[in-house]
């Protein structure tokens, strides 16, 4: 018997957005779980934490951050890690994720998910920081592949080779953003299937799906539109390769009614059933703490 590296799957989720709080609490239950943007709830009190607690009482949550800056050459931000751990104690998330990127140096924050060069130096640097964070939080974390718009001349390996090696060294997990793979494959001209094949299947904990803007010369990852067909196709490919991985749709801008996003998520369920057959995508319910 092999012991699974990943946490048990929790089904199909959406990003938790303030404009949906009341619909979530008062409407029909159509969603298995929600992903919160950790920083939105790393505040002292008031409305965000009020709704967080109420929604947590009814749904499993996962925490998704944007400020870990795991690839920065600044020291890890201890205030951030302390606040993140405090929020995790409150939320008891199914898991915690952030991005394979850096967000600033010299104490400044660009509030963007900036790409890393994929070479041995970065690998050593990021792997040791992940180990430190995982030790501090007492759990494995997930790192997400970001959309990128440039390639460094000094990069020595593909993103998927880098991710695989990083997982080996740091014993971390992967949040695979299917849309980001698609966006980057167009922006850099690689084969997204080769990317999927290169990612270690036993490390993939979660999928992201999202919409983007195609500007013909390149694609910008905007999260302000529905998921497009080529990304749905790639999602089906990802399901074939990785099996019934917990899936969520990210919408950060131009946010529609909750029911509309729930419908879009039903399309993901539909693709999963078509691809994997019914019954394979367990809707295991995590009992709220």
């Amino acid at each position: 018997m092999t012991v699974s590296l990943v946490y048990p799957p929790i089904g199909f989720g959406l990003g938790l957005r303030a404009s949906h709080y009341e619909d979530i609490l008062n409407g029909p239950r159509r969603i298995d779980w929600f992903e919160i943007l950790s920083e939105n709830y790393m505040v002292p009190g008031g409305k965000p934490l009020h709704y967080l607690d109420r929604i947590r009482a009814e749904y499993p949550l996962v925490m998704h951050g944007v400020s870990l800056s795991i690839g920065s050459t600044d020291p890890l931000n201890r205030d951030y890690l302390r606040d993140l751990k405090k929020l995790a104690e409150r939320v008891q998330p199914a898991w915690i994720s952030d991005h394979l990127c850096w967000t600033g140096v010299a104490g400044k924050n660009m509030h963007d998910l900036l790409p890393l060069p994929y070479d041995g130096e970065t690998l050593d640097h990021v792997a040791s920081r992940i180990q430190h964070v995982q030790e501090f939080l007492g759990r494995r974390i997930l790192l997400e592949n970001v959309s990128s718009y440039l390639t460094y001349k000094r990069s020595e390996m593909t993103e998927w080779d880098f991710l695989r090696e990083l997982c080996n060294r740091a014993d971390c997990l992967i949040l695979l953003d299917v849309n980001n793979i698609y966006v980057s494959s167009v922006n850099h001209g690689f084969d997204p299937i080769e990317y999927l094949d290169g990612v270690p299947a036993d490390r993939v904990q979660q999928f992201h799906l999202a919409g983007h803007r195609n500007l013909e010369t390149h694609i910008i990852d905007t999260h302000d539109e529905p998921v497009v067909d080529p990304v749905w196709d790639l999602y089906a490919d990802a399901l074939k390769r990785f099996g019934p991985v917990s899936t969520m749709i990210e919408r950060d801008d131009n946010i529609p009614a909750f029911a509309e996003l729930a419908d879009e998520l039903d399309h993901a369920r539909h693709i999963a059933v078509e691809t994997l057959g019914s019954g394979t995508h367990s809707r295991r319910r995590v009992v709220p703490a």
Binding site: G46, N109, D112
Partner: protein
């Protein structure tokens, strides 16, 4: 091995901040050239922060108009790069920036609007706390009153405004035409706070503003009454102070009585 990653990140960040430097040489040019690829990040950097400011400063944007607000945003971004892990705090220096920087300081109403809106932002997610009731107040033994101190609700923001920022905010909030800037003869005290999940604000008379600040400084009831005699006749001062306190208890502004 020579560590090259710190220099690369410094160069990249310099490009984002100042649109110059050696970064271009580090980037592959193919279907898009290196400069265009970097420019995608430089544009996104400014747009994201301007969007954050738009969310927090709705009335200021209405007062300036979208184009002028965009120009202000860019000037502020260049002068105050974010140094907090959360973008939530990015706008915290905008009031000061407007008060100190040309050409904005020539229109002091702008700084007042920004300070008013930021106070609401701070009240919104300030710590939760216990709220004392009128019954709690009535239960304080009479002998305890002179030495009694008061814990204010942590969401309370006390600011003084010279201009009609709240009227301008009101109009902007309802998407109505903004009133003309109007200057008061003296700065007016305001309190902005959260009761339940709702944000409230109210102007204060000079004695009310003084008393609220005195409570916040930890003065006891006897000291507060003494100070209020500046404006209130001594024979009425205890009743006046108790009346204000009862109002503020009802408003959810008092978290507890400390004796």
């Amino acid at each position: 091995m020579r560590r090259r990653l710190p220099a690369l990140q410094e160069d990249f960040q310099s490009y984002l901040l100042s649109l110059s430097g050696a970064m271009e040489q580090e980037i592959v040019s193919d279907t898009l050239d290196a400069r265009m690829r970097l420019q995608i990040y430089a544009d996104a950097y400014r747009l994201r922060l301007i969007e954050a400011l738009e969310t927090d400063f709705v009335a200021l944007r209405a007062a300036l108009g979208p184009e002028e607000f965009d120009r202000l945003g860019r000037a502020y971004i260049d002068a105050n790069p974010s140094d907090h892990y959360s973008v939530r705090y990015f706008g915290r220096n905008l009031g000061r920036f407007l008060a100190q920087t040309d050409p904005y300081r020539e229109q002091p109403v702008l700084a007042d609007i920004a300070r008013f809106e930021w106070a609401m932002t701070d009240a919104f997610d300030a710590p939760d706390a216990n709220v004392a009731t009128v019954a709690d107040m009535a239960a304080v033994p009479p002998n305890d009153w002179p030495g009694l101190r008061f814990a204010l609700h942590p969401s309370l923001q006390r600011i003084d405004l010279q201009w009609n920022a709240s009227a301008i905010w009101h109009a902007a909030d309802k998407d109505e035409a903004l009133p003309a800037p109007e200057q008061a003869e003296y700065p007016v005290g305001w309190m902005i706070w959260r009761q339940g999940l709702q944000i409230y604000f109210r102007s204060l008379s000079v004695d009310q503003a003084w008393m609220l600040d005195a409570l916040g400084d930890g003065q006891n009831f006897a000291e507060v009454c003494e100070g209020l005699t500046e404006w209130i006749d001594a024979q009425y001062v205890a009743g006046h102070a108790a009346g204000l306190l009862k109002q503020w208890v009802t408003d959810g502004l008092i978290s507890g009585f400390i004796n």
